[in-house]
């Protein structure tokens, strides 16, 4: 009798495991940012003409980046899809980051898998939701805004306004990189430099297509503050040399 109950429990838990999905995103550098950057660079007299021209060409030929977000009911994994990239040496991307992100809503963590500083945990963003709505594809989305404080390689803090459009129709709190924690799947993120837009939503995909790379408990995870310190130290060392 006990075995039957156990079996029943297991099977029911399997069935309730229906919350999963794969979302494709495309990130593109904003034209406005691209133009502004080029204008700024043209004015800069320290940079030689040939270098200027190379950088301008890179910016003008910036390619979009493709990302995928895989999630189940409590975890998500966001990573860049390199397979769509052309093999022609170095091209400029969208500036929307390169690193994979792992989120877990049970343990409340957002971890960036940064290749230089191992793992960096991010603080959840403090969103404000406005009553403004728009459709992305056929999906109704609400506008949420927040300000993110970032740390530049030059060693100073700067703020960026973030606009996220999320769909309450898809009630999961995931989104691209650390832009999550809203009452609905994030379908679009606008920042000064780039825009990330969802191009495909695939709910309840085949289980074996789902790719979620967990972060081990034993891994050393550094906080954002610590990582800033490390960046500053590294930059100092580089200047000395």
């Amino acid at each position: 009798m006990k075995k039957i109950i156990l079996l029943l429990c297991i099977s029911s838990s399997l069935f309730s495991y229906a919350q999963s999905g794969i979302i494709n995103y495309t990130a593109q550098m904003n034209l406005q940012h691209q133009k502004e950057f080029i204008e700024e660079l043209k004015k800069d007299e320290k940079v030689t003409m040939s270098v200027k021209q190379q950088v301008i060409d890179l910016y003008k030929n910036a390619e979009p980046d493709y990302f995928e977000l895989h999630f189940n009911e409590s975890e998500s994994y966001y990573f860049k899809d390199e397979s769509l990239k052309k093999e022609e040496g170095y091209t400029m991307g969208s500036k929307a980051g390169q690193m994979p992100f792992y989120t877990n809503t049970y343990t409340n963590v957002i971890i960036e898998d940064n290749r230089i500083f191992s793992f960096i945990s991010h603080e959840p963003l403090d969103w404000k939701i406005t009553n403004e709505q728009k459709n992305i594809g056929d999906v109704a989305c609400f506008k949420a805004t927040t300000t993110e404080t970032l740390y530049s390689r030059q060693g100073n803090f700067y703020d960026r306004n973030i606009v996220a459009w999320f769909a309450p129709e898809y009630p999961v709190e995931f989104g691209p990189s650390n832009y999550s924690g809203l009452p609905g799947l994030v379908l679009e993120v606008e920042r000064k430099e780039f825009t990330i837009t969802a191009t495909k939503i695939n709910l309840n995909p085949n289980e074996d297509r789902l790719k979620i790379k967990c972060v081990d408990k034993d891994e050393k995870i550094t906080s954002q503050k610590e990582s800033y310190k490390k960046i500053a130290e590294m930059m100092k060392d580089r200047k000395k040399n």
């Binding site: 406005q32 809503t105 939701i129 594809g137 009452p183 191009t199 495909k200 939503i201």
Partner: protein, 240 residues
């Protein structure tokens, strides 16, 4: 007679009443078997569209917590795989409200949704392959199938009633930039994306200072068809 402290008292009362106006709606969200639902979403949209929208995501015990002003809200409760629940509420005092959601039967099916059309500030991007049937021959046949786009018989294009003034192919002006040559000559299967740029200005720096009446259409081509040959071959046979 105006006394300065009167103003401060007024200010004090005003802020006090503001903070007292916050009421708390809380409770537990469960399924029909009384199992708490983690990460269920609540969205409280005020009737007054100028007020802030509030939200809450349930914790591991299914608990939620919304601090609302005493004005009418529409609260929507959502959990993937469950039927959504909607109710109107106006709080006069703190309230505990437990919510039960019903499971949807068809939740295990795979659903794929592709975005055919993306609208950004003053840009519309049409992902052409989601909108056409592959029977199209020329660009004009493609354009006629895109929502909001019209092509007249002289080759002029209007988008939501506004005329396209500049035609670009891969970011470069197509011949003189007129639309009529492009719509009749670019083969339909070479078109990957149609990007419409409203308020178009050739000098990008002026964009923010100057409203322009210009509208541009940029045709992005399939990677393997960047060098297409255009034109039609017409052959006829005489009676001799």
């Amino acid at each position: 007679m105006r006394k300065p402290y009167q103003f401060f008292i007024l200010l004090f009362i005003f802020f006090n009443s503001q903070s007292y106006a916050q009421k708390i709606l809380s409770g537990v969200i469960t399924d029909s078997l009384d199992k708490p639902l983690t990460s269920a979403n609540l969205l409280a949209v005020p009737k007054d569209s100028l007020q802030e929208v509030k939200f809450s995501i349930t914790d591991q015990k299914g608990r939620y917590h919304l601090s609302l002003k005493s004005m009418p809200y529409t609260v929507t409760v959502n959990y993937l795989g469950y039927a959504k629940k909607k109710f109107n509420i106006k709080l006069h005092k703190d309230l505990v409200k437990n919510i039960v959601l019903q499971e949807k039967a068809e939740s295990l099916e795979e659903v794929v949704l592709e975005m055919p059309m993306v609208v950004k500030k003053d840009t519309i991007i049409y992902n052409v392959n989601k909108l056409i049937t592959r029977e199209e021959r020329k660009l004009k046949d493609v354009l006629k199938k895109l929502p909001g786009v019209e092509v007249d018989k002289d080759g002029g294009i209007t988008i939501n009633g506004k005329k396209v003034t500049t035609m670009l192919v891969e970011n470069k002006k197509f011949f003189n930039g007129g639309t009529n040559l492009a719509v009749d000559n670019i083969p339909a299967d070479a078109v990957k994306q149609v990007v419409v740029l409203d308020n178009y200005n050739e000098i990008a720096m002026l964009k923010d200072f100057q409203e322009s009446e210009e509208m541009a259409m940029n045709i992005k081509l399939e990677d393997d068809k960047k060098n297409f040959i255009f034109g039609d071959i017409v052959a006829g046979l005489g009676n001799d």
